[in-house]
Amino acid sequence: MTTGAAEPLRLRGAAWSAGGRAIVGPIDLEVRSGECLAVVGPNGAGKTSLLRLVAGLIEPSAGEVSWRGTPFVELTRQQIARRIAYVPQIRPSRIPLTVEQLVLLGRYPHMSRFQMAPGRSDFEAVREALARVGLEGLRERQVDRLSGGERQAVFIAAALAQEAELLVLDEPTTHLDPSHQREIARLIRTFNRQSERTVITATHDLNFASLTADRVLALRSGSVLACEAPARAMRPELLERLFEAPFEVVRGGERPMTMLELDG
């Protein structure tokens, strides 16, 4: 309560249930400005639901989610979209658009229905976003003809073009090879540190979480087990409680690297 409206995102007892079944929460959480938060947890822990709650895609069934002190329910969808960009994990298998067209879609929250065409500032934002992810050369390419890594980068570019303060990414590195994982991780880190934007990711990759995040939120059965800096969160005891599998720390320090123990 001390920092008040300065906290960009605050969840107060926020919970979401579907069909009478509690999926996530109640959760209390404050995400600081410029922070990078990684949500980890087993399948079905409610990571995606938590992200959708945070991005304002679903309304909490109890409690409240607020942006700088204003509850989401008092904001329009467009107002939320100007502040929060979301990159979902599940997307249509076929998208009949070029790279530039797809990234331009990110400008929607800034466009008026009376606008006949995207304006110069829109194209400028698209160009900048594509340059950031290093895909300026693929502007005219059909999205369907991109590799998995390029695709993910284009969706992130679309979110960057949205010029939101908070970027929410669901499983940004799943299905990517190590070099693309590295690129995405560097992209997120640059965006987070240089532009001082806030980032929330959900991931199964514990080392990715440890490398990129300021805090790691361990989610299990919809409840927060811990929300701490990687050095404290990446403890074998906590991870074992979280995943019900034995872990060992193979490298300590500020950003510990962990590994599954097969014979534990």
Partner: protein, 330 residues
Amino acid sequence: MRSPRAWVAGAAALWLAALVVIPFLGAEVIYPSELLAGDAAISSVFWKLRLPRVLLGLLAGGALAVAGSSLQTLFRNPLAEPYTLGVASGAALGAVAAQQLAPPSAELAIPVVALAAFLGAGSVTAVLLGLARSRFGFETATLLLAGIAITLSCSAVILLLQYLADFTRTFRMVRWMMGGLAVVGYREVLWIAPWALAGSATLFGMRWSLNQLLAGEELALSRGVDLKRLRFWVLGITSVMVGSLVAVTGPIGFVGLIVPHILRRLLGHDHVHLIPAALLAGGAFLAFSDLAARVVIAPAELPVGILTALVGGPFFLWILIADRGGSGRP
């Protein structure tokens, strides 16, 4: 690929060509010199029969193509259109029922038939929406099967009503069900124009939101698209357009399938270009199809609905096979 704007201009040129050229053509060709000579019979054919018929074709075809384009994007399905989804059948059932319920001597006014057609179309879209929101989702096969089931059910009820009707009425209904532009004077044109144009303009107003659907509903939602409202309005507007149209022309199939499909290949999926191009090219397509229907078995005429269905059926199959059931691409 030429620029999308060039294709829209091309569609406009085609539209103008249809408007200017087709009234002169038919089983009997009218030469401009004859028209200028001031023969009363010829100018009557030109101004009172052919011109309104071309205008109706331009409006109806445009409305069908715009409705088809919007439904395809909304349902993320390249095969969706008023006819294949059963919306046109629902409208037809409404119109037939209204005529059947009226006293035998009465000729119902267009707005009354149209209101009944709209109620029919609206009920079908409500059923589709209900199905899509249930656990079946917007899955291609389910949606098309639902469309077929709805069409079959409506046809059965229409047949029943026709069976119960007296002979002259039955004949009129059967002809009307074939879908055609033959009935027309300016009254019909003036009736359809505001619905077709206002409907298209409103859907064009939703172009940015419709574009968002191309990248999936989750992203659209996250960018601030009010999906519930968008669905409601797209389905409501297309129902009004189809209802007002079907009341006059009967159900005309596949215009809303063929034209948007070709346009998407030529100028892409951006609704900023797609919707105006559909309005223009759809109109030109139906007007030229009607010209073909008027001359192909001259001196007799074919209802244009039969012609579009003859072309559209195989076209539908071709998309189904080439697209492997759509897999979610509009």
